[in-house]
Symmetry: D2
Subunit: 404 residues, 4 copies
């Protein structure tokens, strides 16, 4: 291996991370991966958890590190993994997030009507990698456990993000037994399974993920900030489409302007993809800063609110908000702003309503299977003394109404 590429990265979460292969070093240096340095892992969560400034880049490196550990464990247990498969798995996980939009999930559907996974797959293909990499990523490779290490209900992606997000937010309760879970990985019929001794760690992992979901990812204030940001971009898009955004007077970056003028694109649109891969959090922030003095009152008002962390109010309830209720709330809002805006504007730009949902375990997705010493296999809900099917499949659904 080229000495210059034998780098060690200092990671506050795991300590030293050695870049495990030369080709990985080259990929890390690629613009697609370097771009992830400018996209925060948790979007606007830093407005609530000031330590949560960590990026998709450090998450990708961390997940690569865990993948390396996992492959090692499996090889030590006698699993046959060729050098080509080994390297391809590392590449697949390193690149699994290259398709992410600025602000991660918050703006996921603003630019394209495709998921970030599909976008990742697209940009991977651009990198001229071996087919195995994309096959593993898109679950078309025969050794299915390699895909499952990249994406399943206990993959190296989740292991890293739970560990990392709980580290940087300071929510110590989110801590999971990553080391232990990795050591419990095994393969059975080409699928990833968990050794019997790992049951408690898996239970704990499922509960911690749920806790992080409600306490961090769906934190009231963060959801409110997301609504505000979405409303700002909705307004900017409206103005752009009506030639009222005035980018010469209120300069914004060209790649963001492209999407504001054209609207949400299809993944087949090559030109759009070229703009997209040059976008990151800084385009959004610098535009919003410019808009704080925009002549459009709605745009400038909302932009100022976000800049100064004036994040409005979010109400969460178990039932959907009735039309009647929403109507009343918007009327009140209209009054609050002294009828300066129309009812439609108030609805579109000063409020939002939607649902939040989460499920501890999905029965539709790839199973979490436990491997017993006697060779038997049981799905987690059968193996666990405690987490029964009822518990795991419970679909928690809540509704929120946001207003500024």
């Amino acid at each position: 291996m080229d000495k210059n590429k034998r780098k060690i990265i200092n990671d506050p979460v795991y300590g030293f991370i050695a870049i495990p292969r030369e080709e990985l070093y080259d990929l890390i240096q690629s613009p697609s991966v370097q771009r992830l340095r400018r996209i925060k892992q948790l979007g606007l969560s830093n407005l609530v958890y000031p330590g949560a400034e960590h990026t998709r880049f450090s998450h990708s490196i961390g997940a690569m590190y865990l993948m390396n550990q996992a492959l090692n464990v499996l090889q030590e247990k006698g699993e046959d993994i060729s050098e080509e498969e080994y390297s391809a798995s590392l590449q697949a996980i390193l690149l699994h997030d290259v398709g992410h939009a600025p602000f991660s999930h918050c703006l996921e559907s603003f630019f394209f009507d495709s998921s970030h996974e599909d976008l990742s797959l697209h940009f991977m293909k651009d990198l001229n990698l071996s087919d195995i990499v994309t096959d593993i990523f898109s679950d078309r490779y025969k050794k299915r456990f390699l895909h499952e290490l990249v994406s399943s209900q206990v993959d190296t992606d989740r292991l890293d993000y739970l560990t990392r997000d709980s580290f940087f937010t300071g929510v110590s309760e989110g801590v999971i037994g990553t080391d232990r879970i990795l050591k419990m990985f095994s393969v059975h019929n080409d699928e990833l399974v968990i050794d019997e001794k790992g049951i408690y760690s898996i239970e704990k992992f499922i509960i911690s993920r749920r806790l992080m979901y409600w306490q961090v990812y769906m934190h009231k204030t963060v959801v409110g900030a997301d609504c505000l940001l979405q409303n700002i971009l909705k307004r900017a898009k409206f103005l752009a489409m009506n030639n009222d955004l005035l980018p010469n007077k209120y300069p914004i970056t060209p790649h963001l302007l492209y999407f504001l003028e054209k609207g949400t694109r299809k993944i087949e649109d090559k030109e759009a993809l070229e703009h997209y891969i040059l976008l990151d959090d800084t385009d959004i922030w610098s535009s919003i800063k410019t808009w704080t003095s925009h002549k459009d009152k709605i745009l400038s008002l909302l932009s100022n609110k976000l800049m100064n962390r004036n994040l409005g109010h979010l109400k969460i309830q178990q039932n959907v908000f009735s039309e009647e209720d929403l109507k009343q709330k918007r009327q009140a809002l209209l009054k609050k702003y002294n009828n300066e805006f129309s009812l439609q504007e108030v609805e579109d730009y000063f409020s939002a309503t939607n649902e939040l949902h989460n499920r501890a375990y999905s029965f539709d997705d790839r199973k979490i299977n436990i491997l017993y010493k006697n060779g038997e296999i049981k799905e987690i809900y059968e193996a666990s003394d405690q987490l029964d099917k009822n518990f795991l499949s419970k679909y928690i659904r809540k509704y929120y109404y946001f207003e500024q």
Copy 2:
């Protein structure tokens, strides 16, 4: 406060712990509390987790620290707690474990047929404290929340031991959100309740406790070591009662000898209590070491096994072991030892069988109640989206058979 008593203790778990009151300093210096320095918190668990050498002393100091934090939180929320009550609560938690036997739970029923809590209460009374201390400890004080901080399903005892045991064993998954839980404490109708925002932390706490229970406290190898130690003492008692222990030839400490000769005592036996409070782990270890060369083959064989961590084998199953099965196992064991011992001896000293059980939450004990912003109170199973009554009340029961 006397300057010499304004001490700060360096605790690896919480950092600096200031001794909060002069009278606490004096209690810490008392022989009953100093004795806890020589009783390990987790008995023989250090044979599996080599870091788990921490003592009941450091746990008591830690629990006192958390009590101080908790009382502070409640006062800040406007709860009226007099200086006398404040100090008494600190004293009660500091002393809550003074009645523990050597090796903590493992030998709990060997010396007295009373619980360690009853013994703690007895030794507290010896210390001439204000009645409030013992009233709080034994739940006869009107402000019931003070007792609940000492002993309930989310008390400062559990908060400390889960945190401490997971720290010293290195089982990072046991980590709970102690800081956060403390901040969520409130009082409602003189009872301890948890603020609504603390629900997820409580769920997490319940799951972590369960994990620690099966992964650490009831770890197979630890349970086996406990059986071995209990069998050694059973044999020594048998010999002592038959004048075959020969303490002059194989010297042991006088306080242990007392109990070997007299057997398990009643809590009313003053003399026995006086011997008991002078016993700690070192009496047991030094005797076992002496016995490694004892002329009684059973005693010396077992003692050597424990000394050299030759810990036998434990089988765990969901059902009780049938008499037939046990009979067969003992016959095989008889053979293994070439009929050197009788069947009864094999049963009594080379094997053991019993049950293990645990329940995530007890409906018989004091409830964990959640306090909503609107003043409403719900028990945890009603408040939680996820932890329903079924889940919480499930009584996990397993059976083990141990043989040497």
Copy 3:
């Protein structure tokens, strides 16, 4: 205190931080402090330490937390501190960095020919605070120890940044005994002193700071990245002054444009200050991203290098680089670029040379004094067995040459 302002901030470094006063809550919400959320504490260090994404905002909150602890310690030791002084000290430390430029130290002299401290003082005055706040900040308050807690050789600023930077970079060796040092603070003749028992912690603090200086703050690759960024802005300024920056074609934010066209300003320039307080890291990044396709070859080439972490090469030596040596290096560089650029351009934009220096302890600054039990005071170099005057005063000076 207004309930809505009684907030707790989750900090990964210290755990929960309660905002200690209502007026502090209001200041935190001010645009000057919120701006610090968009200025990274360590500028471009995240290119080497990917975890080092933390901001001046979280540092300011952290320093405020330590100040609160320190004032508490001093009050407990009997020091008289009025409520007004207490609050003012908290305000002074919270605001001590509001004058920082984007990218912190890297661009400190690009916008104004004043230090960031002077700028902080200016912006503080804008906030209409009590005079005590600015008096403490600028060392005109009689109780000098209050200023020393804000700014001296062992202040809460340094204590926080060493702890925080070592946490987020993952350089565990930088860890200092913050808790212990705070507990050792005392006051003697209105000056801050350290109790005798804290000597070793202070020695350790001095050595850790030095280590962080060379291993993190002046890390070769970081210094190189700083040179690259400075050269980019130098080129942009040159173009702007010659009307070649073309902001309509390559849009950049108005506040950055202001300084590129006008050059470095004096602190008396009100208009410049108004632009400055609206600038942060995102203005710089979004502009550099735009410039990657600029028609000026030098600007686009350099911008692309920074965007893709192509950070050039830095040579460090003990002696100043001779004119002869520099001449040769630049000639070689000229060749490397096939004479595409002039010698002057190569010197100005593709290379840089300067000195790095550090001193473990400054004899010009406020002393670190040790207070003995008998009331005696000694300066650290007299008190320490090991750190003598020679050692402490040694001025380490190194020279670097950077080229792209």
Copy 4:
């Protein structure tokens, strides 16, 4: 490798430690190594740092883990290390402390007039290992760096104990950059050297070791407790030699009795060695507990003091205590005890005086050499900007007087 021997140990300091070779598993199971479970790493330091209950056993496992890492680093850098040498180095470090006395350094010279290293070598030889193991341990192996990894000024022993002791005492300032230092290990002319980039970590390591020395190992209260324990054993030995110890009435363990009656032995004394290897902390504690009611007033008084943490007073000064001064102090002590004891007894059993010394770096020992990229070698004091010869060689010497 035998599956049953492929164990993983949960270590709170490093996480999971896999036992790296089958033969290591066997050695860990040997009585000599198991005995280290009953000898605390830091003797009586737990009287000051209640978390410091960790044992020589966990230190030995930890040092083995670091050795494995170090050998790995060297192999990756191309160093030729045969499987035999690899395993032997692991064995040598695992066993390096088997010769330690109960209470580690405190009683080092009580049992034998040899160092614990010589005793370790003796017991290693008993284990019938390959000659390479003892050759490496005693520095007679050609590849000297293997010995240096076991014992030098930056060996895996020191790296582990500094890390471990600072973890368990909670003295966070003792933390060193173990991971980083290990990665900087190289070999040059068969000697261990440190890569240039590791200089700051080595400086830090040297300073941390010094801090731990004065703040933990030589903590005033710990030194006092050591004196007290030594005086107790001195008195017990005096009584034993005069047939006044009465072991039948005040039973103590036979192996301790052996040394009390015979006095300090020579390492050639086979019988003494056999007793020694069966001694650990529990023999001492159980005897002292028995002696609390001994009819010899001095023995019982001192024993009670230690049991109840009544640890006397220690005075430290820069100069040796004058005879005159000592005389006065002892006269006062005589009075304090109302002339109940003779002057000689007061001197021998109620007081102690001695020196404490430490040096940051020894010029007599194996050098710490720095390897530059250009192949040059410099000793640390030449390589470091800051730690000059003066500083490093300074021999700190202090004198203490202890009295009860």
